[in-house]
């Protein structure tokens, strides 16, 4: 339908969404940019004038910056590795015929629906607590000393919690992608003499490549922004301060808004770099 009348109606219908999102994006973003060039301490003197790129250099040269980057990379990388690898295996498994598929699938997906604060606290207390946690009981039953999960193995602990939360997402998407694989393709490969491993490498993995990329990109964007899981478990202690958490602390806890805003701008740039790749893939899909 492309008559004049419908086209002008379409513009009117699109306008509210565009205007709202434009405001949602531009207003806070320009404020963050504004603050990032100021020395601004709301509790200690307020607006102390323009400082140029001072905040940007100070944010990067502060002693917590590189550890935060390191923590972020370790956690994001670890969770991606675990969820994608296990996700592929689990989706292959769930795609096989077995009894009780419906129930098993629900069990696999359930963690995704658990709110971040619940999963953070449940893991922290009921499982990783060195005295009363499930793992501590288990260790003692085998006669070994319980691990101080969240203080001594803090990054590993967070990686486990986040992987548990995101594994369903990866599994579900990869399973959907596998189900769209033409079974004749597998049969053709069998006729051509490909064994199980060959079929996996040459047919299934290439077929999944796009879905895997999407899983990685979307998870990266969400994982870079994780907050609640850290907030309720370690509150940034024991070397679990990610970039997001560092910025949060600068802005709201120590109320150094200028410095925090500069960090925010870095985070926005980082997210945008990943977003560009994601949008390419999604955009390609649009023109199909």
């Amino acid at each position: 339908m492309s008559t004049q009348q419908s086209r002008s109606a379409a513009k009117v219908m699109l306008a509210p969404a565009v205007v709202l999102l434009m405001a949602w994006m531009l207003v806070p973003l320009s404020m963050t940019l504004y603050f990032s060039f100021k020395k601004y301490l709301p509790l200690r003197g307020g607006d102390l004038g323009w400082v140029g790129f001072d905040n940007y250099t100070r944010f990067v040269s502060s002693s917590s910056f590189w550890p935060a980057i390191g923590t972020t990379l370790l956690i994001v990388g670890g969770v991606l590795f675990i969820t994608v690898t296990l996700g592929i295996l689990f989706s292959l498994l769930l795609n096989q015929p077995f009894w009780g598929q419906g129930i098993v699938r629900i069990m696999f997906i359930a963690p995704f629906f658990v709110m971040p604060t619940v999963s953070g606290l449940v893991w922290k207390n009921m499982f990783m607590d060195p005295v009363n946690g499930f793992f501590a009981h288990l260790s003692r039953a085998f006669g070994s000393e319980p691990i101080q999960w969240l203080s001594q193995e803090s990054i590993l602990s967070l990686t486990i919690i986040l992987s548990w939360q995101w594994l369903p997402f990866a599994t579900l998407i990869l399973l959907t992608a596998i189900q769209s694989l033409d079974s004749e393709q597998i049969e053709a490969a069998e006729m051509d003499g490909a064994r199980l491993l060959g079929r996996f490498w040459f047919i299934i993995i290439p077929h999944l490549a796009r879905a895997i990329t999407i899983v990685i990109l979307i998870q990266t964007i969400f994982l870079l922004a994780i907050f609640a899981e850290i907030f309720v478990t370690t509150a940034g202690a024991f070397g679990t301060k990610t970039l997001t958490y560092l910025i949060f602390q600068r802005v709201l806890e120590s109320q150094n808004v200028g410095l925090g805003s500069a960090g925010g701008v870095y985070a926005i740039i980082l997210a945008n770099i990943i977003a560009i790749f994601l949008m390419r893939i999604v955009g390609k899909n649009l023109s199909d």
């Binding site: 492309s2 008559t3 004049q4």
Partner: protein
């Protein structure tokens, strides 16, 4: 009573002109077929008449009244779509009744008309099913039923048979033709299949690149195609087109001869060639004959059951009175 007149109608999508200005008159009660290869603009032309697309310039008159700015809902035309476009959430009964409901008819009137249409189209048993539960042919009938109940000024068909299998297609072709004879309402039918065009049309409009190449009765087009394109498009198997010295002998840039207008002999004839593939249809035999003056083999239609060996030398003689001559622009030489 409906007479459709297109005056200097053109259509542009952005900067590309898909239909240059054209004129066309469709008389009351006529069965007109738009035919042409895919992308020739035949569907666009139909959609312009339907009002589903705006014309870029020109005017569309329906019964002498300017309908150019009238919305599709108010043109009183009915359309049968290629995908049938049935409403998936409504039963067959509701699908057929939909235009009547839109026209504000009472439900008893709706019910009666739907029952009548269903009887004609053999759909009575299926009235309470949803489109998803019907076969392709049945869906096609529902789409036609939805079109006929409202007694439109004219019917528009957009490649309605292209999703049916071959056997069903022949049957539906006859049914639509019968419908036209019975209702005597103007019908405009779009297809890429020249056999559908030849068998159903009162008048055929051959289109290429948005331009009208020729308008005429099926036999007009068969007997005297105005140019090489129409000559090649109408008729099956295709007319043989021969260029070069063999054409010059007839004082033309190219000559055309239909397979059924060539005599084949093993001793004498105008052109010498060797038998390639032969296709036995039982009623006819088609030979693809290789001649040295042409890369493309020449198709010859012979009586059924005639057997000639692959590679055998034969002689072909075109019937002079059925020879079509074309000039260097591809136009017919009278």
């Amino acid at each position: 009573m409906s007479h459709i007149h297109l005056k200097d109608v053109s259509k542009k999508f952005g900067d590309t002109e898909v239909i240059p200005p054209l004129n066309l008159e469709i008389k009351d009660g006529e069965f007109v077929v738009f035919v042409g290869p895919s992308g020739c603009g035949k569907s666009t032309l139909l959609r312009l008449i339907a009002g589903l697309e705006d014309v870029s310039s020109g005017r569309i008159l329906i019964n002498g009244e300017d309908a150019t700015e009238v919305s599709p809902a108010k043109r009183k035309l009915a359309m049968v779509f290629q995908s049938y476009a049935l409403y998936p959430h409504m039963t067959v009964r509701k699908n057929i009744a939909f235009p009547l409901r839109m026209a504000g008819l009472s439900s008893t009137e709706q019910g009666k008309k739907v029952e009548d249409a269903a009887k004609v189209l053999n759909l009575s048993e299926y009235l309470d099913r949803k489109p998803g539960q019907l076969s392709g042919g049945q869906r096609q009938r529902v789409a036609i039923g939805r079109a006929i109940v409202r007694e439109p000024q004219a019917f528009l068909f957009d490649e309605p048979l292209s999703n049916l299998d071959a056997a069903l297609r022949v049957g539906m072709r006859v049914e639509i033709s019968e419908l036209h004879k019975r209702l005597a309402t103007t019908m405009i039918y779009v297809t890429h299949d020249q056999i559908e065009a030849m068998t159903m049309a009162d008048k055929i409009v051959v289109l290429q690149n948005g331009r009208i190449e020729q308008v005429g009765t099926p036999l007009d087009l068969y007997r005297s195609p105005l140019n090489v394109f129409v000559a090649g498009f109408i008729g099956s198997p295709k007319m043989n087109i021969i260029e070069g010295p063999q054409a010059s002998k007839y004082k033309s840039a190219s000559i055309g001869i239909r397979p059924e207008h060539i005599a084949i002999s093993d001793s004498t004839g105008t052109w010498k060639g060797t038998i390639g593939v032969s296709e036995q249809l039982g009623s006819d035999t088609f030979f693809h004959v290789k001649c040295e003056f042409q890369d493309q083999s020449i198709t010859v239609r012979a009586i059924g059951g005639l057997e000639l060996a692959y590679g055998q030398t034969v002689f072909l003689t075109p019937e002079k009175e059925h020879l079509h001559r074309f000039d260097k622009d591809g136009l017919r030489i009278k």
